[in-house]
């Protein structure tokens, strides 16, 4: 019993210590903007590895998610004789929920894990300490550009996911199942609001991008500098990002869409 209490106390203390380190790390990373802004090359290179390389998986998944929504939505809506509502069903579920959430999960899996592994290995091979010896702050030089690249890429990826998904739903619904083209778009335009739906979806994706990139970078920076430690950090990145994204999604949805 005493042993259990001891372990509970220790794990509470270590997790609070980790949260504290993570917050300090975040503050230093955010402050690194003064270093990144005069050096856009650093940011561009990270935009490539974080954004462009995630582009393919996000667009292909978006296409298939949209096509599945079109198919499933058609089957359900045709029972009620309201196939014309397919457009609004596909668009609302993509723009409000699936776009930001699924693209953030894919982002954490594709880009986040790569960031953690890269930084963890840099730490294990003492590249970060080497930089410090040369009076280069590794947080400013290595972490900050990656953070801002992830933070900027995520909303773009989510918007692409929703767009491709809506086109995929159109492909299946209008192209294959014969829903009217005009009502697919007009129902969507009549019922989706720019501020309530599109902007709130974009805010969600910004928050998820912030959280997922922060977790990935911090897990890499905080990794135990061994091959086992790096592998464990990479796993933790994916698991914790998924928890953070889904938990934040619930909170944000309750805040944004709760009052109507």
């Amino acid at each position: 019993m005493l042993n259990f209490l001891q372990r509970l106390g220790r794990s509470t203390r270590t997790s609070f210590a980790k949260l504290g380190r993570g917050t300090l790390f975040l503050v230093c990373t955010l402050a690194g903007i003064t270093y990144v802004l005069p050096r856009p090359g650093l940011l561009l290179k990270q935009m490539y590895s974080v954004g462009v390389l995630t582009f393919l998986i996000v667009t292909i998944s978006g296409l298939f998610v949209g096509m599945v929504l079109g198919l499933q939505g058609f089957n359900i809506l045709s029972d009620f004789g309201s196939e014309e509502a397919l457009g609004i069903m596909v668009a609302a579920s993509l723009v409000r929920e699936l776009g930001p959430v699924v693209s953030a999960l894919l982002f954490a899996g594709r880009a986040g894990s790569a960031l953690t592994a890269e930084i963890g290995l840099m730490k294990a091979t003492e590249q970060l300490s080497g930089m410090e010896m040369m009076a280069v702050d590794p947080i400013k030089r290595i972490i900050s550009p990656r953070f801002y690249a992830g933070f900027l890429s995520m909303p773009l990826l989510a918007a692409l996911f929703s767009t491709i998904g809506i086109l995929g739903g159109h492909l299946v619904g209008v192209g294959l199942l014969g829903v009217d083209d005009g009502s697919y778009w007009s129902q969507m335009q009549a019922n989706l609001d720019f501020y309530d739906d599109i902007v709130n979806g974009a805010i969600k994706s910004v928050v998820f991008g912030f959280a997922a990139t922060w977790i990935a970078l911090f897990e890499g920076y905080d990794a135990i500098p061994t091959s086992e430690g790096v592998s464990r950090s990479t796993t933790r990145t994916v698991v914790n990002s998924a928890f953070a994204i889904l938990g934040l999604d619930f909170i944000l949805t309750a805040l944004m869409f709760g009052d109507n």
Partner: protein, 159 residues
């Protein structure tokens, strides 16, 4: 990883396609384009005995053409009537002041909207004006109830 020109181009393409996606969502998917002349509206109110399932942003139409939206629905504390405030696009500034307003339902189970029936007066409704002639929303349960009651009365008389 070496920094190259191809990378720059790919990042540029990525950012451009992301923004293209955002624009697509804003213009094609949402109703932003119909907000374009949002500022050029004038407000008109109408009192209904019952505004039914009317909601904020419901359509206001004349002869089936949308000319504005419902912006507020309040309850008048004294008369227990529903005050519906509508904003109407200012290009339709020639609604006569004896226009009548009724709440209809689009389709059997569709959304409710305000239909305006222009009258014959030479004076036009102005900003802040009030529509006097109104017809309340038809509540389906009430109608069924009345019908059943009427039917029962008729049966009684026949006996």
């Amino acid at each position: 990883m070496q920094h190259t020109h191809t990378q720059d181009t790919l990042v540029g393409l990525f950012v451009a396609s992301g923004f293209a996606g955002l624009f697509f969502l804003a213009l094609q998917v949402s109703n932003l384009s119909s907000y374009s002349n949002n500022d050029n509206t004038y407000k008109v109110t109408a009192r209904f005995a019952n505004s039914g399932g009317l909601k904020i942003k419901s359509q206001v139409s004349v002869a089936g053409v949308r000319i504005g939206r419902v912006t507020a629905i309040r309850l008048d504390k004294q008369s227990y009537e529903s005050i519906v405030e509508m904003s109407i696009e200012s290009q339709f500034d020639n609604l006569p002041d004896d226009t009548s307003a009724s709440i209809y339902t689009a389709g059997l189970l569709g959304e409710q909207y305000v239909n305006l029936e222009p009258g014959g007066s030479m004076d036009y409704l102005k900003d802040g004006g009030q529509i006097e002639i109104t017809q309340a929303a038809i509540v389906l349960e009430e109608m069924i109830g009345k019908y059943l009651f009427q039917k029962a009365e008729e049966d009684k008389e026949e006996k």
